[in-house]
Symmetry: C2
């Protein structure tokens, strides 16, 4: 019982360490011994808790994404205004905009997920779930805004989730790459602007 608790902690500890190492060094440069070192543990132990490096990496990637998702949806639940929810979601989605949010750099992990999902069926399956959840979060906000009257009637929330989600993905990549032509702040503005256009509401009504 106490034993099980401890075992679960080790599991999570390793997953966290793995996620950190992956963000630091990249998936390709992540060695089992790096993860072990980050845990302050011997390399052998990693494979005691995970049957292979590959499976650990997949779990670590989804684990990190879960962390972000939970944090975000907790915040969303606290807000009542759909406009503010949307603004916050975008804020959280712009790489490097909020220094206080520990830079686990979600987006770098997304790219690793994609590249792996291209060949690894297990990762592909996970990716689809994570992606659906991400678009769903946006769609939920849109739906909520439609219900409260903040957004117009007759809009397709799921469709907008897809469109806005894709836009954010595309822009986030560019920002993540430190592209000189797109600053984080600019991305934030563009996201809000396009979202308001697509959803059909006025930006002016929502001051900071």
């Amino acid at each position: 019982m106490a034993r099980q608790k401890q075992t679960k902690d080790r599991h999570q500890e390793i997953l966290e360490a793995a996620a950190r190492v992956i963000t630091d060094r990249g998936l390709a440069e992540t060695r089992i011994s790096d993860i072990a070192e980050r845990c302050g543990v011997s390399p052998g132990l990693i494979l005691y808790y995970f049957e292979s490096k590959d499976r650990l990496l997949v779990e670590a990637l989804t684990f990190a994404n879960d962390q972000f998702y939970l944090k975000m949806s907790r915040e969303m639940r606290r807000m009542t205004s759909a406009r503010k929810q949307l603004a916050r979601l975008i804020e959280l989605s712009v790489p490097g905009l909020l220094p206080e949010y520990e830079r686990l750099d979600e987006w770098a992990l997304w790219i690793e997920i994609w590249v792996r999902a291209l060949r690894d069926p297990a990762m592909a399956k996970e990716r689809e779930v994570l992606d659906r959840r991400w678009r769903q979060s946006i769609a939920d906000i849109v739906r909520h805004g439609r219900d409260t009257g903040e957004f117009p009637d007759g809009i397709d929330a799921d469709d907008l989730g897809m469109r806005i989600g894709a836009l954010v993905d595309g822009l986030a990549i560019q920002v993540l790459m430190n592209d000189a032509t797109l600053s984080p702040m600019r991305m934030q503005e563009v996201c809000l602007d396009v979202a308001s256009t697509l959803i059909g509401f006025s930006l002016e009504a929502v001051p900071a």
Copy 2:
């Protein structure tokens, strides 16, 4: 002279083979011997033409992207209608929509470029160039449409290039991943729809 020609052919031959192998197996699983095999050549020769595997891979990725870009811009130049240009560009950008266009799967290579660019400065630099060129292509179409009067006056072509480009990127990833919720045809429709909304022209006027 004939010597130089031959050497250049070998160079290109290797780059092509490398690009193929990368699309097939993924960057991480690409071995020098795979590339050599695809060329029908011994592994040692690869390193005779390229100083290291890493440099070859970067060159191969940009080479493949160049191929696509050249093909696309050649097509664009042949068309006079900006609407048709835009429609065609989108058509070419949807993964798996056109079976006749040899499936070198540009987008899979893009993801490999991104993941590598995160850590490799040389790749990062190349990526920025390729990305700028991609958004520029869209912006050029928008500009052209504005000049011919197909699109409204007063629109910011570069800004629209960024927005539409990002949207296409985001959607293309999802389609490339074979996501059950987004078919190639659907992506095409969505791209056209959003583009027309953002640019501000009517879709109805441009039948197939």
